[in-house]
């Protein structure tokens, strides 16, 4: 094998221009592949983060409750549950919470009371969504603490948090009091202790957070909660975990984010398949490039092949010389190509930025993807060398030697 490796390497080295050109071809191909892969991977991750990063992945609700998906203007999908009948809700929710806590994939649990109401101030009367939560638990899903613009996220007693848009429309500041009517007609006054920005105009206009206890009495839910919201480690496991939770607890159902985001999932899938199509064509182009260069090389080196055979090199041995050349081109080209692809993505990230200086596109370099690219390019290189290798094996030493 060492003999073949040495000869293959020497042949590549002797045809410098040729080897360089084909190597350049492979490098460009693989770097485009790596760049596109990283970009598409990053975009998908970003889209996913935006969609489910700060919202529940699984929502546990009572069995007869129907969720309603709500399309929000900035294209984020957020689930919103509205109640028609306040008697619905989860009994013995602490028990379920404890059960769920035992599942190790679950990273955040937040029992929540949802209700609708109206915020009244002066002449204005705005529809709002009341969300009763244990703020520390809800923070793990919504990152409220980090998104408080004014005041703080304490919601003990009569304190509430309102969105920036609502504060703007009702001209509210931290410390002001706000009258809220529940859908059932109960009216009470609350103190604004914080103003948040959850990154969605709709949520900033409609959501208010109050403590679970306060919401429970205000909405007269007794000892029930509307939902238990969960986040999980791997968002794509949500569906599986949701059905597990539904199965193991009675009188409730658990729904995953996927059920209400089919569109997004389809989009992700078609993105992935278009990325695969691009990569397949890049590989085909690279393979054809290697094949044509090696085919020419067999003709150019036919004299050397004949000489080697005359000296006792077997057909298998000379064929191997060409297979190895293909493999070398594939390995070297794809390693350099991968690195220049990563460099290209980093350059792209550093150049394409929004006004605030944040990268516009997230780029994610997946080491597994790189390893796969290198392996595929190497196999493609050897595959491309098959026909030239076969031709070299069939070459008779006689032809070369008698022709000088």
């Amino acid at each position: 094998m060492w003999f073949e490796i040495k000869v293959a390497w020497r042949f590549l080295k002797s045809g410098k221009t040729q080897s360089f050109l084909i190597l350049l071809g492979i490098i460009i191909g693989v770097s485009v592949q790596t760049f596109l892969g990283s970009l598409i991977g990053g975009l998908q991750q970003d889209l996913l983060d935006q969609t489910v990063g700060t919202s529940p992945h699984i929502t546990i609700m009572s069995e007869d409750q129907t969720p309603r998906p709500l399309q929000i203007k900035n294209e984020k999908m957020v689930r919103l549950i509205t109640f028609s009948d306040k008697d619905e809700g989860i009994n013995r929710w602490q028990e379920i919470e404890n059960n769920v806590r035992g599942i190790k994939e679950i990273t955040a649990i937040s029992p929540t009371i949802n209700g609708s109401g109206f915020a009244l101030r002066g002449q204005k009367n705005l529809a709002i969504v009341i969300r009763g939560v244990n703020i520390e638990q809800a923070d793990q899903i919504y990152y409220i603490n980090n998104r408080i613009l004014e005041g703080n996220y304490d919601i003990g007693g009569n304190k509430i948090l309102i969105g920036s848009k609502l504060a703007e429309e009702l001209e509210l500041k931290v410390g002001d009091s706000l009258k809220i009517n529940s859908a059932a007609g109960i009216s009470d006054r609350f103190i604004v202790n914080g103003i948040f920005n959850l990154g969605s105009a709709d949520l900033n206009k409609s959501w208010i957070f109050m403590s679970l206890n306060r919401a429970s009495t205000f909405l007269d839910l007794k000892d029930k909660v509307s939902n238990i919201e969960l986040q999980v480690n791997d968002v794509f496991q949500a569906e599986e975990l949701a059905s597990l939770i539904s199965k193991e607890n009675t009188n409730i159902k658990a729904e995953s984010w996927q059920e209400n985001n089919q569109q997004l999932l389809t989009a992700l899938q078609s993105q992935s398949s278009s990325s695969i199509v691009i990569q397949v064509f890049v590989i085909i182009a690279v393979t054809l490039g290697i094949a044509s260069v090696l085919a020419v090389s067999v003709v150019q080196k036919s004299r050397q092949i004949g000489i080697l055979k005359a000296m006792g090199a077997t057909n298998r041995s000379v064929a191997l010389v060409f297979l190895l050349q293909g493999a070398f081109l594939g390995i070297i080209g794809s390693i350099i190509g991968s690195f220049s692809g990563i460099g290209l993505s980093q350059l792209f990230v550093s150049l394409v930025r929004d006004e605030a200086g944040n990268p516009l596109f997230p780029v994610q370099v997946d080491p597994l993807f790189i390893i796969i690219s290198i392996t595929v390019a190497t196999i493609a290189g050897m595959f491309a060398a098959l026909i030239p290798a076969r031709n070299s094996a069939h070459l008779s030493p006689m032809e070369v030697i008698s022709n000088g």
Binding site: R10, G312, S317, V400
Partner: protein, 258 residues
């Protein structure tokens, strides 16, 4: 009794499938071990074909070939390649060295092929062989930097690398000037004497033919004459019965190359 290194029986070679062209018509020949033999003959007489078949580079259409007590008629490609590597060294008219490698690497090539390794374990032997062909100091030079005569001597060193029993040469001096031809001949003769290697040389060069132990003349696919010369014989004497084509073809070949 002298040991026979090559025996051929009723050797026939036909080229072409539809239009058959028989170039060797049932040859019988025995070659002694350590013999320095020349094959002469006009162009198209079948002498190169015979050499290529003896060197296992080409297949006979029929007939038996025994080299070193082995009947190679039924060897497969792989077995033939190994046999060739171990037993036969080749020197061609156009040196046929690998331009990608240095002199020493070219000399080691037959060893590398046989052993599947490309290390420098036999570098010493390669250097010795290059010394034998008076190429000391050229060991690490790339082939393209050498003159025609130097290349041919590297080719001879390479042919000797695996200590073959037989060295075959097709017009080894056909491409060299007369002075270099003389030196190459001396070299071949010395090797023949020192290592007892059997030499089979196809040549147009009457000087070389004249100084061989044995001369075979081929005409139209038959062995026309088989003469045992003696080293003491004067070149003049040989010239008396040297075929006329030996003079003519020599010049023709030179023209073709230009």
């Amino acid at each position: 009794m002298v040991e026979k290194i090559i025996k051929i029986n009723n050797l026939v070679k036909v080229y072409g499938v539809e239009v058959k062209n028989e170039v060797l018509h049932g040859l019988d020949l025995e070659i002694n071990k350590g013999e320095f033999m020349s094959i002469i003959g006009p162009s198209g007489s079948g002498k190169s074909t015979l050499l290529n078949i003896l060197g296992t580079l080409d297949n006979a259409t029929s007939g038996q070939i025994i080299i070193n007590d082995e009947d190679i008629s039924y060897f497969n490609e792989k077995k033939l390649a190994l046999f060739r590597n171990k037993n036969i060294g080749f020197v061609f008219q156009f040196h046929h060295l690998l331009p990608e490698f240095s002199s020493a690497e070219n000399v080691m090539m037959p060893y590398w092929i046989n052993n599947g390794i490309a290390d420098d374990s036999l570098k010493e032997r390669a250097y010795e062989l290059l010394k034998l062909v008076e190429l000391e100091g050229f060991e690490e030079k790339i082939i393209t930097k050498l003159s025609g005569g130097q290349k041919q001597r590297v080719a001879i060193a390479r042919a000797l690398m695996n200590k073959p029993a037989i060295l075959m040469a097709d017009e080894p001096t056909g491409n060299l000037d007369s002075e270099t031809t003389e030196r190459v001949y001396e070299l071949l003769r010395n090797i023949n004497a020192e290592l007892n290697t059997t030499f089979i040389i196809v040549t147009h060069d009457r000087h070389i033919a004249a100084r061989s132990d044995r001369v075979i003349e081929m005409i139209d696919g038959y062995i026309e004459r088989d003469i045992y010369t003696h080293q003491e014989r004067e070149e003049k004497e040989w010239q008396e019965f040297a075929p006329s084509y030996c003079f003519l073809c020599e010049d023709e070949d030179k023209k073709e190359i230009k």
